[in-house]
């Protein structure tokens, strides 16, 4: 798998005129990587991810997955939104298996695969629950299992933990790392939480605000296992500070 | 000779209450429109609030519930209302239907007996329903022998014209619409049952007791209007045709089908008698019919239904 974004531009027509959301974005993701893009609110993170997912079309530039240009959404690029977006009328198992059903897999074959991914996210005991019976963290785990069950080439995540409380968020971050290691999925995630980005990813793209463009690319090199303790590691703190300083220059207008 | 402006020499005090009179689409009642437009009510010193009803049914209801003081309606509707508990008095005969109520059939139906098993539309409980049943009875049939389709009169005519029923019972001016169906013809009409369908001015007893002068003035106006129409045919016809929503030529066709009653005919109709031309006899017959057909549960009290005093007073004042 090889995702490449080349000279990507995206403009929106609004009542106030044309808004340049993304300007000359270049990035790439390789098989098995865990990449984060961080940026302030309104820097075009979601727009970028939507373009990669094929949910929207770029104004200029190209996105290629294994050298095939992206022309629309497809199951090779799974997506997890912040807002969970489970199908409320399906139980957890059916939610997880829905992608397979859409592509015509027989119920019996689905069953096996669904169970595997329910096990991966630790929700086997909730297979029959409806989404409304789950907490936010559980919902997001179902959404992740559902995306993984389709075996995408790359998993796109748009601030997946943004709506969770701090404790749940940290638990899920660790959980996501586990899943990543266990399944070997390639992940491109966007977030405004710098700590999250540093904690999770091997490489980070920092975006500028309005228009969004890539300000800097950093490789995160941390020693040992990534667990809770790593956050107190000076190198972790340094990475965080570096990115925060970069973003601070962008975030200032908020208080203007 | 009578004066050109129709007034009555009967000394009538100027009335203060305005009389609420209802009428609807029937050739025998369009003269009311003439009375208003030719200012004949004013000449008879009575203030009349003349109300036109698109739906005849509503005019009957309006009188019953006291929203009208008087209404032009058929005898069997008056009987139905009285049977339901409304206290009404018939003070004037407007007309008799002499052909304007018709049972119209499609091509291929030539006798009443042919109606057996056919679809026949009419407005339930109206005179045309009554007429239909009279006709059936004459041929030894009853309603159960046909497929009766209860429809509002206008809709019934339309349904027949559109070929949805085999026969229809309607009154003028809807007869014109029904006969537009090619091959259709009148099977029988009110002409075949003289006196069976008569139309009157009915007023509520409460109003009559409180305002006898106004009732008298109404009766006087009616006859004055008839005189006016006689003398100003073209003008009157135009007014009436416009009210009916038909052309003057079409309106003239209705003339034969409705016989407007003169003073003398009025006087005679109020007398007791042994055939349908006598109102008291007809009333008894019709109420029996209404009871036997299940439309009313109990025959109304007929003893106080007719009050000829106003017609008599007019006749006395106008010896011809």
């Amino acid at each position: 798998m090889h995702l490449e974004v080349c000279h990507l531009f995206k403009q929106f027509k609004t009542r106030q005129g044309t808004l340049v959301a993304l300007k000359d974005i270049n990035l790439h993701v390789e098989t098995g990587e865990f990449i984060c893009a961080v940026g302030a609110s309104g820097s075009g993170k979601s727009t970028l991810l939507r373009l990669v997912a094929g949910l929207d079309m770029p104004t200029a530039g190209e996105i290629r997955v294994d050298d095939v240009p992206v022309t629309g959404p497809g199951p090779d690029r799974g997506m997890v939104f912040q807002s969970y977006t489970l199908y409320p009328w399906m139980n957890v198992a059916n939610n997880v298996g829905f992608g397979l059903k859409l592509r015509g897999m027989a119920a019996r074959d689905r069953h096996q695969q669904v169970n595997y991914y329910l096990d991966v996210v630790g929700l086997s005991h909730c297979a029959q629950c409806f989404p409304k019976e789950l907490s936010g963290g559980m919902k997001q785990r179902v959404a992740i299992a559902r995306a993984l069950a389709s075996q995408p080439q790359i998993l796109l995540m748009d601030e997946p933990f943004g709506a969770l409380d701090v404790q749940t968020k940290e638990t899920l971050q660790q959980f996501l790392l586990q899943v990543w290691r266990r399944t070997g999925t390639t992940i491109l995630m966007i977030t405004h939480d710098v700590e999250e980005a540093v904690f999770l990813s091997g490489r980070i793209y920092v975006l500028t605000s309005q228009p969004g463009s890539i300000k800097q690319e950093l490789s995160i090199d941390l020693p040992g296992e990534r667990d809770y303790q790593i956050r107190r590691h000076p190198r972790f703190q340094n990475y965080k500070d570096e990115i925060v300083t970069l973003l601070r220059q962008e975030a200032l207008p908020i208080l203007a | 000779s009578p004066p050109t402006t129709p007034t009555t020499p009967t000394p009538t005090p100027t009335t203060s209450t305005s009389v609420r009179i209802g009428f609807s689409a029937w050739p025998g009642w369009f003269p009311w429109q003439v009375a208003e437009e030719a200012k004949i009510f004013a000449a008879n010193q009575v203030a009349v609030d003349l109300k036109w009803f698109d739906g005849y049914l509503d005019s009957i209801n309006a009188l019953t519930v006291g929203q009208l003081d008087g209404n032009s309606q058929t005898l069997n509707d008056t009987l139905s209302s009285v049977a339901a508990g409304s206290d009404q008095v018939i003070v004037l005969v407007n007309d008799n239907s002499t052909g304007n109520d018709q049972i119209i059939v499609r091509q291929g139906i030539n006798a009443i007996a042919d109606l057996k098993g056919k679809k026949v539309a009419a407005e339930e409980g109206t005179v045309d329903h009554f007429l239909l049943l009279l006709g059936l009875q004459k041929a030894g049939l009853a309603q159960k022998d046909i497929e009766f389709k209860p429809l509002e009169t206008g809709a019934a005519a339309a349904a027949f014209a559109a070929g949805q029923v085999d026969a229809v019972g309607v009154f003028a001016p809807f007869t014109t619409k029904a006969l537009e169906r090619s091959g259709s013809k009148v099977l029988f009409s009110s002409k075949d049952f003289p006196g069976a369908i008569s139309d009157h001015l009915a007023v509520s007893r409460k109003f009559l007791q409180a305002h006898p002068q106004e009732v008298q003035a109404m009766v006087n106006s009616w006859f004055a209007t008839l005189d006016f129409i006689q003398k100003n045919q073209p003008q009157a016809l135009e007014i009436m045709a416009k009210r009916a929503g038909v052309t003057v030529a079409e309106y003239k066709d209705y003339d034969a089908g409705t016989h407007i009653f003169s003073v003398a005919e009025n006087l005679k109709a109020f007398e007791p008698g042994q055939d349908m031309t006598a109102l008291p006899f007809a009333a008894k017959q019709i109420s029996q019919f209404l009871v036997s057909s299940g439309l009313i549960k109990q025959a109304p009290d007929l003893s106080n239904l007719f009050d000829p005093q106003f017609v008599k007073a007019y006749a006395a004042a106008h010896p011809s």
Binding site: G72, P75, M79, P88, S150 | V65, P150, A159
Partner: protein, 281 residues
């Protein structure tokens, strides 16, 4: 730091000036169940008593306002001679058929209009004009084309509910989260699958609710529709009763319709609860 607050005229609020507790006037808060039941009973009992009082006071003639006793009598009479059941069944069937037909058209149409801006553009202007046209005006045309049987009656009821229901279903589709649809795309869903397997089940509770509401609109046409050559039906019963001023039967007919309506309403609520257990209330 700069201007001390004491500069302002507002004296510090008196802590004693709290909002006093209340039971009856609670805003957006449930009231005790017992009170709710009492009030709901009152809701029926109060108007009934008022009616009974006025009727028995004799202020209004019984011809105009029959007493509850008289109406009860009429109900019993109509029941024992079988016509109440026959009329109710006839009207109910008509309304159900007419409404089902309307639902059969309006639900898919509404979903399509809500889903595709193109379909919406194509249908909305026409519906916007037609829905203002009074259904009773279509009676002559219906008679002309469909005769005097059940068809025109059922169609009339359909026409009267069709457009409302379509627009309500269409509005419901607007609330399907866009991200749910997009998630489906990224799971490999085609547009057709999104329409049938995502949007349609999502709006099911709203559809049931729209149907519940519009069922009442159907009943509003039962009188007018049964003017078309009906020989039985509650609407016809009422119009004949009007004709012969049987006020007690008018009331009996109205009450029967009201109760049937209430039952249908409860059935729809039940259906919604059973079929949409998954829905967050």
């Amino acid at each position: 730091m700069d201007s001390p607050l004491s500069n302002f005229q507002v004296s510090a609020p008196d802590p004693r000036k709290m909002l006093s507790p209340t039971i009856f006037w609670r805003i957006a808060d449930p009231i005790p169940r017992a009170l709710a039941w009492i009030l709901m009973t009152l809701s029926i009992v109060l108007p009934f008593s008022l009616w009974w009082l006025i009727a028995s006071s004799g202020v209004v003639a019984p011809l105009f306002l029959p007493s509850p006793g008289q109406v009860g009598g009429a109900l019993q009479r109509l029941w024992s001679n079988g016509s109440l059941l026959k009329d109710s069944t006839a009207s109910l069937m008509r309304v159900l058929c007419g409404f089902s037909l309307a639902a059969l058209i309006s639900i898919p149409l509404g979903i399509l209009m809500g889903t595709f801006t193109s379909v919406r553009s194509l249908a909305e202007p026409l519906i916007g004009i037609v829905r203002y046209m009074p259904a009773p005006a279509f009676i002559p045309l219906l008679i002309l084309y469909f005769g005097l049987g059940e068809t025109p009656k059922i169609l009339l009821i359909s026409i009267g509910t069709l457009f409302f229901n379509t627009l309500m279903v269409m509005d419901a589709v607007k609330f399907v989260p866009k991200e749910l649809i997009e998630t489906t795309y990224t799971l490999g869903g085609r547009r057709r699958q999104v329409l049938l397997q995502v949007i349609t089940p999502y709006v099911l509770p709203n559809i049931i609710d729209a149907c519940r509401v519009n069922m009442a609109a159907s009943w509003n046409l039962v009188i007018v529709s049964e003017l078309v050559a009906a020989t039985e039906g509650l609407g016809r019963r009422i119009s004949v009763a009007q004709r012969f001023l049987r006020t007690d039967e008018i009331f009996a007919g109205l009450i029967t319709i009201g109760l049937i309506g209430l039952m249908l309403d409860l059935l729809f609520r039940l259906l919604s609860r059973v079929a949409c257990r998954w829905a967050v209330e």
